[in-house]
């Protein structure tokens, strides 16, 4: 029983923290997004979850950042409100390494909310006028340093994804539940072949059935999330394809089970098919990434995430969520097994 309690506790924990913990400050966009060298430019930064107007001990600092060695600090700026910051930059007369265009990342450092970054915020072009030979000293006068880190628990901010990053704790665990349940189903299919008692078959089929349920949920939630971040619900992503194929295998498994009149024969052949199909699914993990690009993080077919996609605060919610949902999956499967056991007994008594 303890694991059922644990699953409830972990899911509640992941729901509460997953929904309540705030996002880090971020920059949504900069306007205008282009500038010419040697000009004074007035750039507005639109922030998300930012506190530009909140008074703080130290000053807010703003940079446009080209690379490690080259960054421009804002000459002056003012906060219009909490989410809009207007900064004036004196663009240098030439670009580093004699380039014609440079994409500058915006960095806004707030003492309390920490530093936030917008990649390729401003495109800086070389003006066709006179080009000085020596690099403008503005590039190196104010290097980016002493950045603040937001104290406390918060989730990373990403453009386009925004708050829906929280779906990591609800959509992704579905995939893990599917994997564990289908794995358990295969294990019990092997057990059934070695020891053909009805209990092993009951377990194999119940795990497959609940795995199917969670697979469908993972696919549906993925489609909802994809609609509002990737723009369309289905984009032939490898993970979508893999899940779809796994679901097809288990649909075929149930059709196979039901196409025999004798129970024992159906159970045995279904177990054989279960093992065979699951094993042939494994190579797909290696093959498909070579053919289809993935939109999912950890793009090369890696089921886990890269360190960029999942920071430590997210891990503290993500892993408990996986354990919690997996236990819930096994709980539901257990109910299904107990029902089947009862059903078989009643049928035995009635003849």
């Amino acid at each position: 029983m303890w694991w059922k309690t644990l699953s409830v506790v972990l899911i509640l924990y992941s729901l509460c923290t997953g929904l309540l913990v705030p996002l880090k400050s971020g920059i949504e966009r900069a306007e205008p997004a282009y500038a010419r060298s040697g000009q004074d430019v007035n750039i507005r930064f639109y922030g998300y979850n930012t506190f530009f107007a909140k008074p703080s001990g130290e000053a807010v600092r703003v940079w446009l950042y080209a690379d490690e060695a080259h960054a421009l600090a804002a000459r002056q700026f003012r906060a219009i409100n909490d989410t809009i910051l207007e900064a004036v930059f004196s663009m240098p007369v030439n670009l580093p390494d004699g380039k014609q265009t440079v994409y500058l990342n915006a960095i806004i450092d707030h003492p309390a909310a920490g530093a936030s970054l917008l990649p390729s915020a401003v495109e800086l072009r070389q003006d066709t006028g006179t080009v000085a030979a020596a690099l403008d000293s503005a590039w190196t006068a104010h290097p980016v340093e002493n950045l603040h880190v937001q104290s406390g628990f918060s989730f990373p901010y990403q453009n386009v994804i925004y708050e829906s990053i929280r779906n990591t704790y609800f959509h992704v665990p579905m995939w893990f539940v599917l994997l564990f349940l289908f794995g358990a189903s295969v294990v019990y299919s092997v057990k059934y072949l070695r020891n053909p008692v009805p209990e092993n078959d009951r377990r194999a089929s119940a795990y497959a059935e609940t795995g199917l349920l969670f697979g469908v949920l993972g696919l549906l939630t993925g489609m909802v999330w994809a609609k509002y971040t990737w723009g369309q619900p289905w984009s032939n992503d490898i993970k979508q394809l893999m899940t779809a194929v796994a679901l097809l295998i288990y649909l075929a498994y149930f059709i196979l089970r039901r196409s025999f009149e004798e129970y024992e024969k159906g159970a045995r052949l279904a177990a054989v098919y279960n093992i065979f199909a699951f094993a042939s699914l494994v190579p797909l993990l290696y093959i498909v990434p070579r053919m289809f690009a993935s939109l999912h993080p950890g793009a090369t077919g890696n089921p886990a995430f890269g360190s960029q996609d999942l920071d430590n605060t997210m891990r503290a919610v993500f892993y408990p969520a996986i354990i919690g949902w997996t236990l819930l999956g096994f709980w539901v499967a257990h109910l299904r097994i107990r029902y089947q056991r009862l059903y078989d007994r009643v049928m035995d008594i009635e003849g």
Binding site: F170, Y228, T229, V332, E350
Partner: protein, 73 residues
């Protein structure tokens, strides 16, 4: 039970469409938080749907056991 469930499902599917009416993009505003709500809703409804189905099967089984008892007595 079944009717209630169908109504809930219908509402869950149609409400976002109603909200999307007009110029407001309900799913994309306020930092796309409603996408999270929709995802949680889908998972919840899916699991509840499965449990309702299981319960109906159990009810059927209970009736069967009940009938068998009646016949015996």
């Amino acid at each position: 039970m079944r009717k209630i469930f169908i109504i809930i499902l219908f509402l869950a599917i149609s409400l976002p469409a109603v909200w999307a009416e007009g110029n407001r993009d309900y799913m994309r505003e306020t930092g796309k938080i409603n996408v999270v709500v929709a995802v949680i809703l889908v998972i919840f409804l899916g699991i509840v749907w499965y449990l309702v189905r299981l319960e109906r099967k159990l009810t059927k089984l209970e009736h069967q056991i009940h009938d068998a008892h009646e016949r015996k007595n």
